[in-house]
């Protein structure tokens, strides 16, 4: 979950998010390298009072400063394409979750089971927070998911456009009325993962968070069974 003055990503809780963080670190390292070399060269050139009147053209220099950037781009592009295709990988999901955005709460449906579960998830108002709850992030009902299970989430909306996002899982997709957007994810370990609505949707856009509770499969089955058929 986000903390004060955090500059980087939240810790990854899904394999895709982990890969995204690795790629980000890799691309940022290359970026810092290039920026350092270029700034260094620029400053050196500007502050050098000597002038080389013989320097008019140089085939080898031109070759170098074409090939080197091409190589850098290759080093960035190939991992990028790799993760792009990884994100679009096809899976047979184990469980389907339906998420419907409303003004201003999320509702969830689990229809794989005979219980056909439906519930709404409202933000816990700040005045009603317990001491172990997070302001603007905790909800009354959580999205319970078994960890290490491939989940298909179908996201839609009942009114205006919203967006369902959970940064630690590397998931974000718009909730559009009349459309079903699919995202696929797997949670690596049990825990609570928070997100917030990511598309402006009216007065309480900032107050319709998402709480995903990843738990053991047995506890998940017990939770499912606790709903009436």
């Amino acid at each position: 979950m986000p903390t004060w003055m955090a500059l980087g990503f939240q810790n990854a809780a899904s394999p895709l998010m982990e890969q995204l963080i690795f790629f980000h670190n890799h691309a940022l390292s290359i970026l810092i390298l290039v920026m350092t070399v270029v700034s260094f060269k620029l400053i050196k050139t500007i502050t050098n009072s000597n002038i080389n009147v013989q320097l008019l053209e140089s085939q080898s220099l031109e070759l170098f400063w074409t090939l080197a950037p091409a190589l850098v781009l290759l080093f960035i592009g190939l991992p990028s394409i790799r993760i792009l295709y990884l994100i679009d990988e096809v899976y047979n999901p184990d469980i389907t979750l339906k998420t419907i955005g409303h003004q201003w709460y999320w509702s969830y449906e689990y229809s794989d089971f005979t219980q056909n579960i439906e519930f709404e998830s409202f933000m816990v108002p700040s005045q009603e927070l317990k001491s172990n709850q997070f302001r603007l992030l905790d909800t009354d009902n959580r999205v319970v998911i078994p960890f290490n299970t491939q989940v298909r989430n179908l996201i839609s909306s009942a009114d205006v456009i919203h967006s369902w996002a959970v940064p630690s899982l590397g998931v974000k997709a718009d909730a559009i009325p009349g459309r079903l957007n699919q995202v696929s994810f797997l949670i690596n370990y049990p825990g609570l993962f928070y997100g917030q609505c990511s598309e402006i949707c009216g007065a309480n856009h900032s107050f319709m968070p998402i709480t995903v509770e990843a738990t053991y499969t047995e506890f998940f089955k017990k939770w499912i069974s606790s709903f009436k058929k």
Binding site: I95, R152, L180, N181, Q182
Partner: protein
């Protein structure tokens, strides 16, 4: 009680490989209605479509389509 809960859902359908699954849900629903109309409610293979549209389609959409079918305003021929 927990043993009765089986983990399983509609599988990947290569006709709908992308992010937009609207047609997947709608086609499963229509296929179920057409299957039961042709073969009857008890025909076992129709259960696949029923499971698919139940898993994929938001309940509000299904309720709306069922009432449209009753009123005769459903947009597709069944």
């Amino acid at each position: 009680m927990a043993d009765e809960v089986k983990i399983g859902t509609a599988p990947f359908d290569p006709r709908f490989p992308n992010q937009n699954q609207t047609k997947h849900c709608f086609t499963s629903f229509v296929d179920y209605k057409r299957c039961t109309k042709l073969r009857g409610e008890d025909y076992a293979p129709c259960k696949y479509f029923e499971k698919a549209y139940n898993s994929l389609c938001p309940n509000a959409w299904v309720e709306k389509w069922e009432s449209q079918i009753e009123e005769g305003t459903f947009p597709t021929k069944i």
